[in-house]
Structures are given as structure tokens and as C-alpha cells.
Assembly symmetry: C3
Homo-oligomer: 151 residues x 3
């Protein structure tokens, strides 16, 4: 894998500091070489639902922002994103109205980010669903699992 | 394990070709001997909610059809279903009204299929929830993890 | 790790017998040293939604009760909770109204239990979402993954 930190720079991506967990838990847990990352929402405290308050395009951007928060946790956990062997699994929770049907297009914001950053190692299994509501009225939360290179 | 492809035949099950991912991601990702399968819905593009548009019995059949799509991905990923060591985990997302309460009976359509096909190796941990909405108005999506025999 | 069964006693926690699976599946599935536990709700068959029928504080208590059901399954699966190496991942499904926004505070009921019981080994990655509905109108379901010490 090419140097991921260089790739971030060439993409114009500046990672935020990892946000604090919203409650009494940790940002990540390692089991073997699988790193489980806690659910992360976009920065900036946006509040609203897809299908009511936000368009699919806005949702896409929020999913990308949530993905950046995931990358920030990864960087904190691993020291370097170069230790990511592959993105394994992403679940997207989309705060959505009962008639919304473009959840997959929203989640693409996060999937595209992973492919941009990790190339073929960014390809992942994923699923997405509409949530009746999310903490702090966030529009989207990303739950994720990564395979990493152990020290 | 007996030959699973023979068992499929005796059950009268003909696997569909694996459907294309609905967006920019892959159908599956392997980490160690865990195979993570992307969320799959039933074939035929059904649209509707449990508790409004579909009965629990119809939901059961859609969950079984979604399970067939999962098996199709497995067969494509592994070459043969004989390489499945066990079904580990199934999550069911049921597109459901706020007062629906038979999500577990819907998910049984998928669980029963796994037991039919894999016998005792088909026993799995699982969970199920009601989604406010799902992509393309699908009635159910199955998210799954399998343990496989590595080459 | 200190003796967990002693710690349970000092916390005044008496584990219930593991509840039967609500449908055709098992309470847990082991893959390598990861133990996947099926979704568990609180005992007592409470029915209702956060944001409508229950306060956040009531939800917190239900999440703790659901966590006790998870521990009961763990004890049954492992013989002793001393074989838990760490709590890896918790997902909380909160039966919630469209405008509820304290899902994380509800899930703390389960997270705090894990920290009370397992100490630093109880720290876990987690995520939480609002479900439009849950089986049997349960207020909360906990889905979980543990790393265990193999025999």
C-alpha cells in the first residue's frame, strides 16, 4: 500500500482530532487483528432527517464527514493509517423518514472516502438502514470494522 | 458436512446469480476466516413495510428470498458452499411500522433457510430490528457473517 | 482479572437463567475466540418506546436489564464469566420515537454494567440507533460480541 498519509495530503484531506466518545465507552476495541470502531457521526453537530430536512446529496456529504471521524479514530488508535490492512465492514444508520429510499446513496459518501483513501484496500462489505431517530438528531452514524497490521 | 450442493438440489433450491452491489462497495470481505457479506434484500424488487403492506407470513418469505441472495454471494465468493464452516451471525433489518412486533418471525425465513441448507452448521447468533425505511423500499435486508474453511 | 463471579456478588448482581432464544436460532455462536451473542432484551416483558412511553432513565434501567440477560448467556456459554477476555462490541437498538435523541444515554445502562462487572476489560466499542419498532414491543435490544479465553 502506498503511503496513506501522503494520499490524504494529495486528496486535500486534513483529519480532525478524534472526537471524544459520546458516553461511557471507548472509541475502538481490538480483538485479534480486527479493530471495531464505535459509531461516529459527522462533525459540526448537524441535526435532521433524510427525506425531511436533508437531501440525499447533503446526506452523502454528512456520511463522508462521518467517515473522516472514523479515520481520525483509526489514526489515533494505530498511530498511522498505513497499519490498515483493509476496510472490512461498514454499517450506516441513516436518520430517515418512513418513505426515504436512497440510504445506499447516502452511505456512498463514506464508502467513496474509504476507496479514495485506501484504494483497493478500501473495498468493504456494508449494509445500511433507516433509523427512526439517532442520538443528538444526527443525520447519519457510521459503525465500522477494520483489519489491521499488528505491531 | 454432507455435500451442500446436493442438499440444495434435494431441497429444490436453485441459487440465483449473485446480485450486483447496489452501490460502490463489494458483496463480501474476508478477514481471517470470517466472511462478511453485504446487506442483501429479496429478489424481485418488492416494496413495502411489515405491519402496513405485508403480513408476517409474506415477510417470512421475503426473508428467505433475501437469504437465497446471501447464499448466492457465498457461492460466488467461495466457489462452493461446502467451504462454509458455520453461519456465525445474522442481523435482520425489517422495514416496519412503529407498532409491528413480529420481527423475529420474519427473520425466521432466513434462519430456517440456513438450517435447511447447512444443518447444525447453520445455527447462528442473530438479532433483528425495525427500520424506519430501507433502500428501494425493500421489506427486509439481511446482514451476515460466516466462518469459512480457508484454501 | 479478579474473580468475576465474586465481583457480581459484591455488586449484588444475581444472574438470571439464560432466556430461551425467541425463535429458531441459538443464543450464541463462537468463531475463533470471538463469541457473538444474539440480541437480548430486558426481562419482564416491558413494552413501549423511548420518547413516548418511557423516560431516558427508565430506558437506562432496561438497557442494564438487557445487559444482565447477555451476561446470563455468557455464563451459560462459557461456564464462567472469568473466561471473558474483553467486551469487544455492543450495538443497542432503542425502540424510539422519531424525535428521541438520547439513545446513547439509554445504552449507558448496558455499558455501565459491563464496566461494573469486567472493569477495564469491560471497555468496548459500541453504536446505537433508534428502531421504528422491536419484537414484542421491547424498549431495547442489545447485540454484542465478546473476546474469550479458549479452553
Amino acid at each position: 500500500m502506498s503511503n496513506i498519509m501522503d494520499r490524504l495530503q494529495s486528496l486535500g484531506i486534513v483529519l480532525p482530532a478524534a472526537s471524544e466518545p459520546a458516553a461511557r465507552y471507548t472509541n475502538y476495541a481490538l480483538a485479534g487483528d480486527l479493530l471495531f470502531i464505535s459509531g461516529k457521526g459527522p462533525s459540526g453537530k448537524p441535526k435532521g432527517k433524510l427525506g425531511i430536512d436533508y437531501t440525499t446529496e447533503e446526506g452523502y456529504r454528512y456520511a463522508r464527514l462521518a467517515g473522516l471521524e472514523v479515520l481520525a479514530v483509526l489514526a489515533e488508535a494505530l498511530g498511522s493509517l498505513n497499519r490498515v490492512r483493509r476496510v472490512v465492514k461498514i454499517q450506516g444508520f441513516v436518520n430517515a423518514s418512513p418513505d426515504f429510499e436512497e440510504h445506499h446513496k447516502v452511505l456512498n459518501g463514506c464508502s467513496d472516502l474509504m476507496l479514495d483513501v485506501f484504494g483497493e484496500h478500501g473495498l468493504h462489505a456494508r449494509s445500511v438502514l433507516g433509523a427512526s431517530s439517532l442520538r443528538d438528531h444526527l443525520p447519519v452514524i457510521i459503525d465500522s470494522v477494520f483489519e489491521i497490521v499488528l505491531d
